[in-house]
């Protein structure tokens, strides 16, 4: 579904991703772990199409289509979703109105009619329950004055509403207490299916106790230096990232 090949990306002249290769198939959950500064958030942003990043070489394809040629909204319409590490506050735009627009923009792209109001509301209620988000929250301006936990739950709620094929979760666990973490993870787990896939980016193993990945990759210095099954996450947790740093810091750029 998602194929990233030898991706090299720089920001303001500094190379961050130095030849990253990754394949994600339908029905799979991949975790990307790594120390601070390894390029985790850059990867998430580049997949979503943020313009501050310069792709020097390599490719990102999604269902065979070249994503690098598409704008962020077109990527979303193709079925990609990014849950932000720091969701943005948008004053004056209610979550519910915004989602109605988003859902219908995506439907229009696929040549579908706008969703009936009744169907939209049914779906809204159903997905609200999933992440235990109160109705008054969706009636408020998007993320404005939300607590950290509410913002993260709102990301998963939006994901549930938009029903993407591939969701990239960028440090969704950061700043969450254990209860909020559990709610977010339950939300994600209930959305897992044979048709979709998840790319979970995280610094800590904690989230992976709740969202159990099929594959774990270690990102270090702009490359994936180690891949394995979920046990790799536990190994990282017990040993820390220092052994990775020692082992791979000698690699020439």
């Amino acid at each position: 579904m998602l194929e990233i090949k030898d991706l090299k990306v720089s920001v303001e002249g500094k190379q961050i991703l130095k030849g990253l290769t990754l394949t994600v198939n339908k029905g799979e959950v991949h975790a990307i772990m790594g120390p601070n500064g390894a390029g985790k958030s850059t990867l998430a942003s580049v997949i979503a199409g943020r313009e501050d990043y310069e792709v020097e070489s390599g490719s990102i394809t999604f269902n065979g289509k070249d994503m690098l040629a598409l704008s962020p909204d077109e990527r979303a319409k193709e079925g990609m979703f990014l849950a932000f590490q720091y969701p943005i506050e948008i004053p004056g735009v209610t979550t519910i109105n915004f989602l109605k627009t988003a859902v219908n923009e995506i439907r229009a792209y696929k040549g579908q009619e706008p969703m009936e109001a009744k169907e939209f509301l049914t779906r809204l209620k159903e997905k609200q329950k999933l992440v235990q988000i109160e109705t008054n929250l969706t009636g408020r301006a998007l993320n404005e004055g939300f607590s950290g936990g509410e913002k993260k739950r709102n990301e998963i709620f939006q994901m549930a509403m938009l029903d993407p094929q591939l969701a990239v979760l960028d440090e969704t666990d950061s700043g969450l207490d254990i209860d909020a973490l559990r709610i977010v993870a339950q939300g994600v787990n209930s959305l897992r299916s044979k048709k979709n896939a998840f790319l979970v980016i995280t610094h800590y193993q904690r989230l992976l106790e709740y969202i159990v990945p099929d594959f774990v990759h270690v990102l270090y210095d702009g490359r994936i230096v180690k891949s394995g099954k979920k046990e790799l996450a536990l190994e990282l947790e017990s040993k820390g990232y220092d052994w990775i740093k020692k082992e791979f810091s000698e690699i020439p750029a």
């Binding site: 943020r50 704008s71 909204d73 979303a76 004056g92 735009v93």
Partner: protein
């Protein structure tokens, strides 16, 4: 001809005009007014048409706009009812003013409450002699604004609205100001509005152009008195053609426990300069002033505001927002003045601007002058491009860049338009704003 003395030469023309129009000016109605007009033209001659050397006009050089062959003769217009009706909103009482003159035949006064007086100012001054003349120019004489002086001197007529004490005027009254005609003209309309003790009143002022084929400069002054315990809402829409220039002064005086709420939305016009002056003269007043200005290519929109806290225990809150596109210029100058006696004043001011291109210009200047020691006052101003992070966030949800921008600007403007309580006018204005953003 030397350029440096241009303003005085421009002024000379209006001194001549003053002599020629004696029989047609407001002074012909009332001896006290005649005296005030004679004083005003002398004061004006001292200063002349403002140019950028005058601090209050530093960013709006009016002499550039008032240097053409204007006359004060009313242009002949043959507007019919069908030409103006599309400007009426929500079935409200509509007072049509063409080039600053009340045109009763084209107005819709069917639902005007019998308690409310709507008349030509000329007639009112003629009928009531000294009493009304006392109010005429009372609060403005010390403002040293040459354009107010010019208006006072040359004013010929305008509208007079009076809401009697204790009367709650349910529906708004809409003054439909229209610029029309085919001759270069300077108009000096003068309006007087009184909201009596304990009364409440909502005024809508729209400024639009119909079949305008030559430049006009409308130099309008409106004097508003909100008496003790009275409430007034004043909603203003400026949406004129590029050939229409406008200097619009509102002088508002608020008495004890009075409330005044204004929303000023400036969307189009060759040049717009607004002065909104609010003098708080009684305790426990509450003042809200909101503004939105959107200047596009070649447009210049200037909002000057002044809140004078003259007495203790009053609250004022001001929020103006600007959206400036390439080639447009915006000016905001907001002054809060707190008199030595005005203890326990709460005064807040904010000005936020979005620049949509690198050829957009904004000049913003908040001013606080505080002479009392026990007050809460704050001001803040921000200017920037549209938030890139917010744009990206919306795009990742499937909204294209154009739509995402429209939504963000819509939310930015809505914080102002939300303050318009009249549903019909709010929807009308939101529609105008939306099409302006698109």
């Amino acid at each position: 001809m030397s350029v440096a003395t241009g303003k005085k030469e421009v002024a000379t023309k209006w001194l001549e005009e003053f002599e020629l129009t004696t029989a047609n000016r407001l002074g012909a109605s009332n001896g006290a007014v005649k005296t005030k007009q004679e004083k005003a033209i002398k004061d004006f001659a001292e200063i002349g048409v403002p140019n950028k050397k005058l601090e209050d006009f530093k960013y709006t050089n009016v002499s550039l706009y008032l240097n053409d062959a204007y006359t004060t003769k009313a242009a002949a217009t043959r507007l019919k009812s069908s030409d103006v009706r599309h400007l009426f909103i929500g079935g409200h009482v509509s007072i049509v003013m063409i080039n600053g003159r009340f045109v009763k035949e084209l107005s819709n006064l069917k639902n005007l409450p019998k308690e409310v007086t709507v008349k030509n100012l000329f007639t009112v001054l003629k009928e009531s002699k000294e009493m009304e003349a006392m109010h005429f120019n009372g609060q403005l004489e010390n403002k040293d604004n040459p354009l107010v002086m010019l208006n006072t001197a040359l004013a010929y007529d305008g509208i007079y609205i009076s809401i009697p004490a204790g009367f709650e005027c349910k529906g708004p009254l809409h003054i439909v100001n229209i610029s029309a005609g085919n001759s270069k003209s300077l108009y000096n309309p003068r309006n007087v509005i009184k909201v009596g003790e304990g009364a409440s009143f909502t005024l809508i002022e729209s400024y639009q152009s119909v079949e305008l084929t030559e430049k006009v400069f409308t130099n309008s002054v409106t004097e508003i008195t909100v008496e003790k315990d009275a409430t007034m809402n004043d909603y203003i829409l400026q949406d004129e053609d590029a050939m229409a220039y406008q200097n619009n002064v509102h002088q508002v005086t608020v008495g004890t426990a009075g409330k005044f709420n204004s929303v000023t939305v400036s969307l189009n016009g060759g040049m717009v300069r607004n002065d909104l002056n609010v003098a708080i003269n009684g305790e426990n007043c509450e003042i809200h002033m909101h503004g939105l200005f959107m200047a596009k290519d070649g447009q210049h929109i200037d909002n000057h505001t002044l809140v004078e806290h003259n007495v203790p225990n009053c609250y004022s809150n001001e929020s103006y927002k600007g959206i400036i596109s390439d080639g447009g210029t915006g000016v905001f100058n907001g002054k809060i003045f707190v008199n030595q006696d005005a203890q326990k004043t709460n005064a807040y001011q904010s000005n936020k601007n979005i620049l949509l291109g690198d050829k957009a210009t904004i000049n913003t200047k908040p001013q606080l002058e505080i002479y009392a020691d026990d007050v809460k006052c704050s001001h803040g101003t921000t200017t920037g491009m549209l938030d890139k992070d917010a744009l990206f966030y919306l795009q990742t949800r499937g909204l294209n860049e154009t739509l995402a921008k429209k939504i963000l600007l819509g939310a930015f403007t809505q914080e102002i338009s939300d303050n318009i309580i009249d549903d019909a006018f709010r929807k009308y204005i939101e529609g105008k704003i939306q099409s302006h953003i698109a």
